[in-house]
Symmetry: C2
Subunit: 502 residues, 2 copies
């Protein structure tokens, strides 16, 4: 009988013991009639007084879990008749209890992939993470000490739902470097930009509402909109981002409630929406009175070419809800992002956030505030920009020298990802399988589309691994690709159309 007790607990020891035994009985690990150890023996083995065990057994008896018989010891009783009710208790069917539309288990493909990226012998080009070895953690000890000395308990107490004021102001100063001018009252701090997406979906989308999204788009956002039971309307993209000519058609016919776009170094395609299309997109939003959700985690990470103003910077009429994050440049584990939006929208989103988690971590907000205010953030940005440019080049060069015919890739001007395409005749799942054998992981492209894409795609990250690893990863991927291309076409659509399911 394995019992755990805690001497520092306020719960009296005898109640801990009776509770633990009761737990074993309830879990079915001590069957009906099971003889409990004699009081003295249990007392010795637990290092407690005999009286404590006597009291515990008396409690169990009073609660109807055991029977004590002089000379025969204390034995476990089955459930009392009145507890059985009309019959045996049915276990709850937890899986079926989830409401319609609740989040579901991911695609087995994605699950296998996630399992793969956790293996140490796998080169992961699948993630969306900054280089961990470049994180400026040496400054953190000093910052933490100084915050404790200057602010004391404050950094561990509640803070406003909208965010710590000094941090909101620092975020505004940082946005100036992106060409965005706004005040602290137009900023809402979020627990990462995943929460920002969720807050917007919960506040503005009712089941059945339509959302216009790029194809491809960020799969995490698509999942959030799906759980909000929104209808996703895909707008095709080309090298200049979302095809605004096609967006217009869709706005006129389907009246979406929201246009979701990642205009700069898009996830997954890496493309940049051209300035002309940005203007056009805003004009269309104004004409059809549709708010624009601009997701911009990557625009600080430009490795060449000229910056293009964000939609938020171009918007003259308060139509844009702008999202960004510190997770792609600083510390993803702190879960800090932000929304910049018209004041009324910030107020409404803050009401939603209040019910979701009250506010984001006060400590984390103060730490990143110090990073921005002390100039450490921009210094770090310069360092990672230089290194990530090298890593992008390493990946693109490796692809240039190794990629087989039919396999194409982008050369992004910034961000995190190279976007690759390959013919439909090569099976995605076969490629994943072969890649696993070669110990390399990538993100399959299909999860980024609303419908089924015409070609196959995959997303390769170049920021997380060092250049040598990237080159080795590309070699492994190319080997896996050749093997998959040589194999049977397991997932090809039948030439004669869809077979009826009978």
């Amino acid at each position: 009988m394995d019992l755990r007790i805690n001497r520092k607990s306020p719960v009296p020891l005898y109640l801990q013991i009776s509770g633990a035994i009761q737990g074993l009985i309830l879990a079915g690990r001590l069957p009906d009639g099971f003889l409990l150890p004699p009081e003295r023996r249990l007392a010795d083995s637990l290092g407690v007084n005999r009286t404590t065990v006597v009291n515990a057994y008396q409690q169990l008896k009073a609660d109807g879990f055991v029977a004590a018989h002089v000379g025969r010891g204390t034995s476990v009783l089955g459930p009392r008749p009145e507890e059985r009710g009309a019959g045996p208790v049915q276990p709850l069917p937890w899986l079926q209890l989830a409401r319609d539309g609740a989040a579901r288990e991911p695609d087995p493909l994605v699950r296998d992939l996630l399992a793969l990226t956790e293996r140490k012998d796998v080169i992961s080009l699948a993630v969306g993470l900054p280089a961990p070895e470049l994180l400026p953690i040496e400054a953190l000890g000093r910052i933490h000490r100084r915050l404790l000395a200057e602010r004391g308990a404050e950094i561990f107490l509640h803070s406003p739902t909208e965010g710590v004021t000094a941090f909101r102001e620092a975020v505004c100063r940082h946005m100036v470097s992106r060409g965005i001018q706004c005040g602290a009252s137009e900023v809402l701090i979020t627990s990462g930009s995943q929460q920002a997406l969720d807050l917007v979906a919960r506040t503005y989308l009712a089941p059945g509402d339509a959302v216009a999204v790029e194809e491809p788009s960020y799969f995490g956002a698509l999942a959030t909109f799906r759980v909000a039971q929104a209808r996703l309307l895909g707008v095709p993209c080309d090298g200049d981002g979302m095809r605004t000519d096609l967006l217009e058609n869709l706005l006129a016919r389907q009246r979406p409630r929201l246009i979701y776009t990642l205009p700069t170094f898009q996830n997954p395609s890496g493309s940049v929406l051209s300035l002309e299309r940005r203007r056009r997109l805003l004009e269309l939003a104004y004409r059809y009175q549709v708010p624009v959700l601009e997701d911009d985690p990557y625009s600080d990470l430009r490795y060449g070419g000229d910056a293009v103003p964000s939609l938020k910077a171009l918007d003259r009429n308060g139509y844009v809800i702008y999202l960004s994050s510190f997770s792609k440049i600083l510390f993803p584990g702190l879960r800090l992002g932000w929304i910049a939006a018209p004041r009324q929208a910030v107020r409404q989103l803050a009401l939603t956030k209040q019910l979701v988690d009250l506010h984001s971590s006060t400590l984390g907000q103060w730490m990143v505030e110090r990073f921005i205010s002390e100039g450490l953030f921009s210094r770090h940005l310069e360092a990672v920009r230089a290194e990530y440019a090298r890593r992008r080049d390493a990946m693109v060069e490796a692809l240039q020298s190794e990629a087989p015919e039919g396999f194409t890739w982008s050369r992004p001007e910034g961000g995190f990802y190279v976007w690759c395409s390959f013919p439909e005749r090569v099976s995605q799942s076969a490629l994943l399988q072969k890649a696993a054998e070669e110990h390399v992981a990538f993100l399959p492209g299909n999860a980024s589309f609303v419908g089924e894409p015409e070609r196959n795609h995959l997303r390769l990250n170049f920021t997380y691994c060092a250049p040598d690893q990237i080159r080795e990863g590309v070699s492994r991927l190319v080997r896996a690709y050749r093997a998959a291309a040589a194999g049977p076409r397991s997932h090809e659509r039948p030439a004669g159309g869809t077979p009826p399911i009978v």
Copy 2:
């Protein structure tokens, strides 16, 4: 013309300048025809090369925001005809864009109250906070240094949605002291217990589903269920907690999807559900196959009497989802709570959390893990228990010696709150008004009820303020009460019934 530029930004200076001017134009702060400063003058005032300003103005011209005329300088242009579309752009009606059921502005009463508690000259008995001066922050510097040395960047990186494994294990060890035995895989770390409530509501409640709640109950949970568009079914309480005899009737007739209860030192009433009723509640849940949501933030804070096992400890059939939090004892600003539930429920709730914020702050989890593992948490618990007992006594004694006739109060055995009742003839809003004049704040009771209570109530917190402040606060409250009782009965229900609204 007030321009901000950032020399460390990757955005070229000329684009920053053109962007800032464009922002001013778009915001309507530089009207049509406004003459921009000569290039050299602006260059001097910003401390940049003249070429930079020349380039900025050329960009603005190319973008159609200004016109340059030789000898006349550069002047602002109005919107281009094609940007005007069919007419002037309509501002978005952000308030109306929120979906039905989105979080709404709080009751003006609550809003006034919140504004009041922020004033330094007000004694706040309204909050639900631990004593900030008792927080064990002196250990935090050391813990942070050690974590940095031992774990490096890991504490700032992503961690599993379910929580850092070591932290989940520490939470399990802590639960043993509450008589609960479960494994790490049955625990989900949440961003505070507000998030836990929200995750449960989002996962298990569809609009129109019924939830059985105590009356009174925690107003934050009621707000969460309301935003999930659930129907709230109130179950009356007495000194022994929820009236399980009335619960049965409700289960049989209304088939709620969830029973929500705070059985131990309830918020707001401070009551404890008796052991007999705990057993009865579980029997009913089993019979009607309804999951039980047990919210237990306060049970570690017992100041006298015997501990009663939690529903989770008594549950033999996996029907209980158990919530708790570190915010009432350790650091509310870290936003850390947890769910302990059957594995299938934890899995489903983690899928929801994945879309909500990916995971809770990695740093915060490691810090609290160290607090538990180094025994600092139980030591702190002992210290606050002793002090909070004194504060409860100070409040109860002050009420005993000062409270006027008709004003009654509880003496809780633990937790945070004294629950007071007073006759309906004294207007709640008049009392709030008078309390504001006396510089004391409390939580009005009505927000804690589903319907309208028969008597008036208010909740007083005794953990946040020092004993002297508590005594002074009670004196002020009593003065406010006498003044309100002497005034006109502004909110009394008319004796003849409800007047028709015409």
